[in-house]
């Protein structure tokens, strides 16, 4: 009996209409007030976030030497969708996904898309990288990260890692590991291509 009354007393705030309404109104006022107090200023666009190697942030900028000569800067590609793939010639999944990347590049480059294959030259070598590119007949730009500045700046932890960057320079998706199938690559790029430059 005693237990029942204790339970009954504990539940009074639920069964007694007036007390329950007081609880609900208190929740509404406190919750609504907190929502209002913690509302963020309605600016919060991506471009105000600092560059950082994760989804929703501006892609950190860099300038690297191109395999075969010349230099390339990431921010010069603003307005295009950029697929940035970090790879090494000794990494089997990187090898496995290169044909898919080349295929997608051939199909979609006309619509304003570029693939940047950044070789982690500081853990690889220029000669094996060049041999690899020739072997697979890659036609997109291949960049050489000789000092590891991009590898460090992009917190590279596993090869391959692929960053999908939109026309505004914002990282929209990061895929760690591979090999990515052609379907995975295309389904990551298509929505970004649809966006207006």
């Amino acid at each position: 009996m005693a237990k029942w009354t204790a339970t009954g007393a504990r539940l009074a705030w639920l069964t007694d209409t007036r007390r329950w309404l007081v609880v609900v109104i208190a929740v509404l006022v406190a919750g609504g007030g907190w929502i209002w107090a913690s509302a963020a200023p309605a600016t919060g666009t991506y471009s105000e976030r600092p560059p950082s190697p994760r989804e929703g942030f501006m892609a950190p900028d860099f300038t690297l030497d191109r395999l075969g000569g010349g230099r390339m800067t990431l921010s010069d590609l603003r307005g295009q969708v950029v697929v940035m793939n970090l790879w090494a010639s000794w990494c089997p999944p990187c090898r496995a996904e290169m044909p898919a990347l080349q295929q997608v590049y051939d199909e979609l480059r006309e619509r304003g898309m570029v693939i940047l294959a950044v070789n982690v030259t500081y853990q690889d070598g220029e000669a094996p990288a060049a041999a690899f590119v020739a072997e697979y007949g890659l036609t997109f730009p291949v960049l050489l990260d000789r000092t590891g500045e991009v590898g460090r700046g992009y917190l590279l932890r596993a090869l391959p890692t692929t960053f999908f960057i939109d026309r505004q320079g914002v990282i929209r998706q990061v895929i760690v590991g591979g090999p990515m199938s052609e379907a995975t690559i295309r389904s990551a790029i298509e929505p970004l291509l649809e966006e207006t430059p």
Binding site: T7, G8, R10, L11, L14, T15, W20, V23, V24, V27, L28, G31, G32, W34, I35, W36, A37, S38, A39, A40, P41, A42, G44, P50, P51, S52, R54, G56, F57, R157, A158, Q173, I175, V176, G177, M180, S181, E182, A183, T184, R186, S187, A188, E190
Partner: protein
């Protein structure tokens, strides 16, 4: 943040591993809770298993349906291990539907079933927090508080730690109340209400909120709705049983 464990050539994704550990610990708890509520543990494990499998398959199919032409050309890509080609929300809904259908066919009573699952849900919520800490997702807003952490190029609220602390406190509360719950469904609704309240409070410190209506945080508005719904259902159940 430490998202990958490198073992020689093997890069193990820690966030996924933490989630898996959460599911595993959760099913252990279900095994303990089901008999106490006079429910079959085997039926419960099947419920969780079928729900999970349907959820994963559903998440991949839902993702592929958004890119039909791509997957029509390469149907084999449907069986890829890549977790980035999954639609988590759709997967969760499909998994839930399958679990509900299975539960109905096995004639599992709704409210006691949800109560038996509650400690598992609370453990899983905790593992989500740990996974967020490991991946750096669900990160905090920039701040100058002394306990700020350096993450994503700024000193930020350790929002993932807040999340873990809240989920841990809720797990503890649910675990202590479970034997003295006044009516079937109380435990589950309590967990829902506490989790919604925690999210409502903690979302304010997040740096990745989705904003609606000129700056309101969508997750807070949704949490307030869930919290009120929880209170309404609790009253309804209390009067039913009273």
């Amino acid at each position: 943040m430490f998202p990958l464990l490198q073992l020689g050539p093997l890069a193990i994704r820690l966030p996924g591993l933490f989630l898996l550990a959460g599911v595993w610990l959760g099913t252990l708890l279900v095994d303990r809770e089901a008999p106490r509520l006079k429910l079959s543990a085997a039926a419960f494990n099947n419920l969780v298993l079928y729900g999970l499998i349907a959820g994963i398959i559903g998440a991949r199919l839902a993702y592929a349906s958004r890119f039909l032409d791509v997957y029509a050309e390469n149907p084999l890509s449907l069986i890829s291990l890549n977790p980035s080609s999954l639609s988590p929300m759709e997967g969760a809904v499909i998994g839930l539907i399958v679990a509900v259908i299975y539960g109905q066919r096995q004639r599992l009573p709704l409210w006691p079933t949800l109560d038996a699952l509650t400690p598992a849900l609370a453990v899983f919520a905790l593992s989500v927090g740990v996974a967020h800490l490991s991946s750096g997702d669900a990160f905090g807003a920039p701040t100058t508080v002394p306990w700020a952490i350096e993450l994503w190029s700024a000193r930020r609220h350790p929002a993932q730690i807040y999340e873990i602390l809240a989920a841990g406190a809720i797990l503890l509360a649910v675990w202590r109340v479970r034997a003295s719950a006044p009516f079937a469904g109380f435990l589950f609704l309590l967990w829902v209400a506490l989790s919604a309240a925690a999210r409502l409070f903690l979302e304010a410190f997040r740096g990745d909120s989705i904003l609606i209506l000129g700056g309101l945080r969508a997750a807070q508005v949704a949490s307030l709705g869930v919290l009120l719904l929880g209170l309404i259902l609790m009253r309804w159940r209390a009067r039913q049983e009273g």
